[in-house]
Amino acid sequence: MCKLWTKLTGVMVMASFVVSDIALAAGEKASPLVIVADTRRLTGWEAWFANLYNESHVYFTLLTVITIPVVGVILGLIADLVMSHIGIDLKSRELAEH
């Protein structure tokens, strides 16, 4: 079963890369557009952030893909704490249609 899931996950990851190319090809042909962040007005972390974007979209993508779930989990846990503090049961519910 474990092997099957590993294979399925592998196929899905591969397919997701293939699908993206086909999906993009499906859209209208866009003229090549390069967006460059203007760093002249920026200082500190903002300048670092914009420079990272300008220098490498790969690193910027990695930063995004790691940051979003991590921040999501942290914010979710904080909201959990607040909700639990109010006194709501956050682990069970009654399954009913009406």
């Binding site: 899931w5 399925l8 196929v11 899905m12 397919a15 997701s16 293939v18 699908v19 993206s20 086909i22 999906a23 090809a25 499906a26 859209g27 209208e28 390069v34 967006i35 962040a37 203007d38 760093t39 007005r41 920026l42 903002e46 300048a47 952030f49 914009a50 974007y53 979209h57 790969v58 910027f60 993508t61 930063l63 995004t64 893909v65 940051t67 979003i68 779930p69 921040v71 999501g72 989990v73 914010l75 979710g76 904080i78 909201a79 959990d80 909700m83 109010i86 006194g87 709501i88 049961d89 956050l90 682990k91 069970s92 519910r93 009654e94 399954l95 009913a96 249609e97 009406h98």
Partner: protein, 351 residues
């Protein structure tokens, strides 16, 4: 009041940040409650706040991944996510999306892709709305008949029961979906997700709007499980979408994070509200959202046939979408508050 505005380092636009938080809360509530990403609500909202369209789409997808993760965590703890069903459906979704994208290429060669897609979307949404409301009518009729016979209706009884017929097709492998509570051929969810993925590929949408009712009416998931399982799929596709859009340089990460702060609160409210609103309450509210979405698309089509109405229709459809998001969020929030208050009162009464 300069502190209310923040400069987005990548796109270079200055944005009213409380607007991002409010948008995050609204879509968090609705996404957590209905089990969908809600790109059709957020993208126009971000565009209004000042983001160029490409950044509006990329930023929306990045925030959607985080928001769906929060909602899926909560739904998972409630037992609302059937992970096995979610993984199996991913296969059909990916393949279906590819076929849909190929069809768009073919339609593009015909030169009428946008018009066909919009009309197809309208027809599809009308069908979904019809399905939901005829289901509600049938369920009420069953309830009346049961009451007249002096009997009670089962907790999970529904009006439309197409899934019962589909479950009789026993092509191997037949799998037990524990959380959803039924046995069926694995080919049924694969086929249904292929169809929903194909439609999503053609329409250029995430697919939650189609997948949620498909999970209920064709696969037979109880409403709460359909919401949770759909969110699980939205989370995975959202993460992939965030990666691909960011790689193309169209994501404003700072805006996504600000929205996520609001969405963390909204997603909890929306998800916890499913604890207090029964399945048919969710279905009816979803039907209302579908009708609103359909009207907004029809408004986008009107200028094609009546000249000089573009500006008015654009403004009206945006107001309609944002008004609908606001009204539905308020309804869900009030129901959640009422439910929580009752639960806390019962608990206090016991201790």
């Amino acid at each position: 009041m300069d502190w209310l505005y923040v400069l987005m380092p990548i796109s270079g636009v200055t944005v009213f940040w409380p607007g991002l938080v409010i948008l995050g809360v609204g879509v968090g509530i609705i996404g957590g409650f209905f089990g969908m990403g809600g790109a059709w609500m957020v993208t126009p909202g971000l565009n209004i706040l000042g983001f160029p369209m490409a950044f509006a789409i990329g930023t929306d997808i990045a925030h959607m991944a985080g928001k769906s993760l929060i909602s899926t965590m909560r739904h998972g703890r409630f037992g609302n996510v059937d992970y096995r069903l979610g993984f199996i459906m991913l296969i059909g979704t990916v393949v279906g999306f590819e076929v849909g994208a190929q069809m768009i290429m073919w339609l593009e060669r015909l030169g009428k892709v946008e018009l066909y897609v919009r009309w197809m979307y309208v027809v599809l949404l009308i069908l979904i709305a019809w399905m939901i409301f005829s289901d509600v009518v049938k369920k009420r009729k069953k309830e009346r008949e049961a009451r007249a016979a002096g009997m009670d209706v089962e907790k999970l009884a529904t009006g439309i029961e197409w899934h019962k017929t589909l479950h009789k097709i026993k092509i191997p492998p037949v799998i037990h979906f524990k959380a959803a509570g039924f046995y069926c051929s694995a080919w049924l969810p694969i086929f249904v997700s292929f169809l929903t993925g194909w439609l999503a590929g053609i329409l250029g949408i995430g697919g939650g709007l189609i997948r949620m009712p498909a999970l209920i009416y064709f696969i037979g998931c109880p409403t709460h499980i359909a919401v949770g399982t759909d969110l699980f799929e939205v989370m995975i596709s959202g993460l992939y979408g965030a990666a691909t859009y960011t790689y193309k340089g169209r994501t404003e990460l700072l805006a996504a994070l600000i929205m996520l702060v609001g969405a963390a609160v909204g997603a909890q409210i929306g998800t916890v509200a499913t604890k207090y609103i029964k399945g048919y309450g969710i279905r009816i509210a979803f039907g209302v959202a579908v009708i609103g979405c359909c009207i907004s698309i029809i408004m986008k089509l009107i200028p094609r046939y009546i000249a000089g109405t573009k500006v008015a229709m654009d403004i009206t459809s945006t107001v309609l979408i944002l008004g609908l998001v606001g009204a539905l969020s308020l309804y869900i929030f009030i129901k959640m508050l009422q439910g929580a208050r009752e639960e806390i009162a019962v608990r206090k009464g016991k201790t």
